[in-house]
């Protein structure tokens, strides 16, 4: 009797909730909404909006700068920001996005930690009429209408720039070690492809060893250590790291092995964080291709336009430069991250 009661209770409870169709209607908008502020036409602040941002995590200096940029911009413009840090797990980002939909935010933005697996939740956002902005990374999807806009870097171009710079620096001859980013992530895939494209024209430039350092300093150091003990690693003349943190870890490994980073091994990496500039100053890093983390302004520009009902470009690339020993000094003092 107790068993049956228990069984029917639980089954009916869960069944009640489980009879949830895969997608539901749009949620009601949040109760609080500020009226539009009056002001001169050409600098009229936009209506206050609520943006839900699902961030990847806090795995690097770059990500930290990215987060601060978004938070600062929200405060500056007077918009409400709901911010969630997924600790680098996709399921946490999906939960956050669903929560934003339930809370009825005006716009959703997120930096997808991996490229696939977003179709279902983005379909829910679409059904709820909430526009979605992709920040900094792209997704791999069957249906491109699932997101409204992308703002970020052209990772493939970054890879190409790194390859081009290295080709110039080494006169087209180099034995290259590659430290990749997190497997499956857009930046890792694209930076690898772009670099390979750029050096394809130079038959004497070869990647002799390539492995993932997961975008972290610790793994960059550990993998580099192992590389340097192999025959290919011993003869390597260059290192291409998909981000600065791995390069900095690798620099430590190179020094520990008794070699001179920056001289014995030419190092080019991507991101352009302050520690990288310091390393260039010390002569240990040769070049860093900028990847602009300050996406707060462009994201909110897009969000404001979307809320106002305007059209927005599907893809917006940030402006980025390439920094080496020749021009790093111009920028190093402004670099806050």
């Amino acid at each position: 009797m107790r068993k049956m009661l228990l069984t029917t209770m639980t089954v009916s409870l869960v069944g009640l909730w489980a009879c949830a169709p895969a997608t539901t209607d749009a949620p009601p908008p949040p109760v609080v909404s500020a009226p539009a502020i009056d002001g001169p036409a050409d600098s009229a602040p936009a209506q206050k909006l609520t943006l839900g941002f699902a961030q990847v995590g806090a795995e690097s200096d770059w990500r930290k700068a990215n987060t601060e940029s978004i938070k600062a911009e929200a405060e500056k413009r007077g918009h409400e920001l709901k911010f969630s840090d997924a600790q680098q797990k996709q399921e946490n980002q999906i939960k956050a996005i669903r929560s934003f939909i339930a809370q009825g935010v005006d716009v959703i933005a997120f930096a997808p930690v991996v490229e696939t697996g977003w179709d279902a939740v983005l379909a829910e956002a679409k059904a709820a009429n909430i526009p979605v902005i992709l920040s900094d990374r792209t997704i791999n999807t069957q249906d491109e209408t699932l997101y409204t806009a992308f703002v970020g870097s052209d990772f493939r171009e970054e890879g190409r720039r790194a390859g081009k710079w290295l080709a110039e620096k080494t006169n087209g001859e180099a034995s290259i070690l590659e430290l990749q980013g997190t497997p499956g992530s857009a930046p890792a895939n694209e930076r690898k492809a772009g670099f390979a494209e750029a050096i394809a024209d130079f038959p004497n430039m070869k990647i002799v060893k390539s492995q993932t350092g997961e975008f972290t300093r610790a793994m960059g150091k550990e993998v580099m250590e192992a590389f340097l003990k192999t025959p290919e690693g011993q003869g390597a003349t260059a290192l291409y790291a998909h981000n600065d943190d791995m390069a900095i870890g690798a620099i430590q490994a190179i020094e520990a092995a008794g070699k001179k980073p920056g001289q014995d091994i030419v190092i080019v990496s991507v991101d352009g964080v302050k520690d990288a500039f310091l390393a260039i100053q010390e002569g240990k890093l040769n070049c860093t291709v900028e990847c602009n983390p300050l996406l707060g302004p462009p994201i909110f520009d897009l969000a404001e336009k979307l809320v106002a009902g305007e059209q927005v470009p599907k893809i917006t690339y940030s402006e980025e430069g390439v920094f080496d020993e020749n021009n790093y000094a111009d920028v190093i003092n402004d670099r806050k991250y």
């Binding site: 069984t7 909730w17 489980a18 949040p30 709901k82 911010f83 939960k95």
Partner: protein, 314 residues
């Protein structure tokens, strides 16, 4: 009503009360952020469906006095396997069947090692975890998209795959544990293996079957996950076994075995889900989730110990 509050059911009823209280407390704070909408409840079930299936499978093993650390890696394995084979033209029924068979095979192997040689379940299933994760990463170390039409169409099913999977798992588990001899044997073996042996129960067979069962549920969870995310992800399910164990413990099942209910596990998963939802709604830093779950685990375990000691004394 008296039966509901009897010594056996009290912990379960109390846990259920906690679920309701948590929900209401969060609502008190977030009612103007749409907390009290159908969507929030639905998300709770959908977000945690896969974990729910995993935790239910884990309950079997823990009831028998063991543990299984390999379930998260099995989910990833099934995902990558499915995505790879579907991409090569296999049909969904074949892929799903193969996945479930792999689950049963792994579980039976681990169960055999535990039952035949008295190896510690912690170590054997740790090996299982390393094996499955390693094989998964060797097949593919990132993600593979699934583009098969049947999977794509699951977005339009009347029930979300995660919710459906959880429901199926719950019904099957309830039947197995409360209406079959297998279930009674599990409780007996978990309660006291010696006594079970003396009573002539098939201890060896029960142990092997329990691990096979748990891995079957894990493989099933993996199938559900592949429908949910339309991709195989080799990094899926990392450390998810710990979440499952937490849910089982919060749900009132004793780690020593022999006592606990699958219904409790369901409540445990709901509590974990509510905590995470509340923290997102509260817009505070997400690391509070971990601290919150740790604290919750502590409170529940201490409470359970107190209640258990009182019950044992009677």
């Amino acid at each position: 009503m008296r039966r509901l509050l009897g010594p056996r059911m009290l912990p379960l009823a109390a846990t259920g009360l906690v679920v309701v209280l948590l929900y209401l407390a969060a609502g008190a704070k977030f009612h103007d952020s749409n907390w009290f909408t159908y969507r929030v409840l639905r998300d709770l079930v959908v977000n945690n469906g896969v974990l729910g299936v995993l935790a239910i499978g884990m309950t079997f093993v823990i009831l028998s006095g063991g543990i299984d650390l390999s379930i998260g890696s099995t989910v990833a394995f099934v995902g990558i396997l499915s995505a790879t084979l579907l991409g090569q033209g296999w049909s969904p029924p074949a892929v799903i069947t193969l996945s479930l068979v792999c689950g049963v095979a792994l579980g039976a192997l681990m169960g055999w090692l535990v039952a035949s040689f008295d190896l510690p379940p912690f170590m054997v299933t740790l090996g299982g975890m390393f094996l499955m994760r390693g094989v998964t990463l060797l097949i593919n170390d990132s993600q593979i998209a699934i583009t098969h039409p049947t999977y794509l169409a699951s977005g339009k099913w009347p029930i979300h795959p995660a919710a459906g999977a959880w429901l199926i798992a719950l019904v099957v588990a309830l039947y197995l544990l409360h209406y079959t001899r297998f279930g009674r044997n599990i409780y007996a073996v978990g309660g006291s293996e010696q006594s079970a042996l003396l009573m002539g129960l098939p201890v060896w067979r029960t142990k092997v079957a329990v691990y096979a069962c748990c891995s079957l549920f894990a493989a099933f969870a993996g199938v559900a996950q592949s429908f949910v995310s339309l991709s195989g992800d080799s990094t899926q399910g990392v450390a998810q076994e710990m979440d499952a164990i937490a849910a089982v413990v919060i749900g009132g099942t004793l780690l020593t075995g022999g006592r606990g209910y699958v219904a409790g596990t369901v409540l445990g998963v709901l509590i974990l889900g509510l905590i995470q939802s509340a923290i997102i709604f509260a817009n505070i830093n997400s690391w509070w989730t971990r601290i919150g779950i740790g604290l919750l685990l502590l409170i529940f375990v201490l409470l359970q110990r107190a209640i258990q000691q009182r019950v044992d004394r009677q």
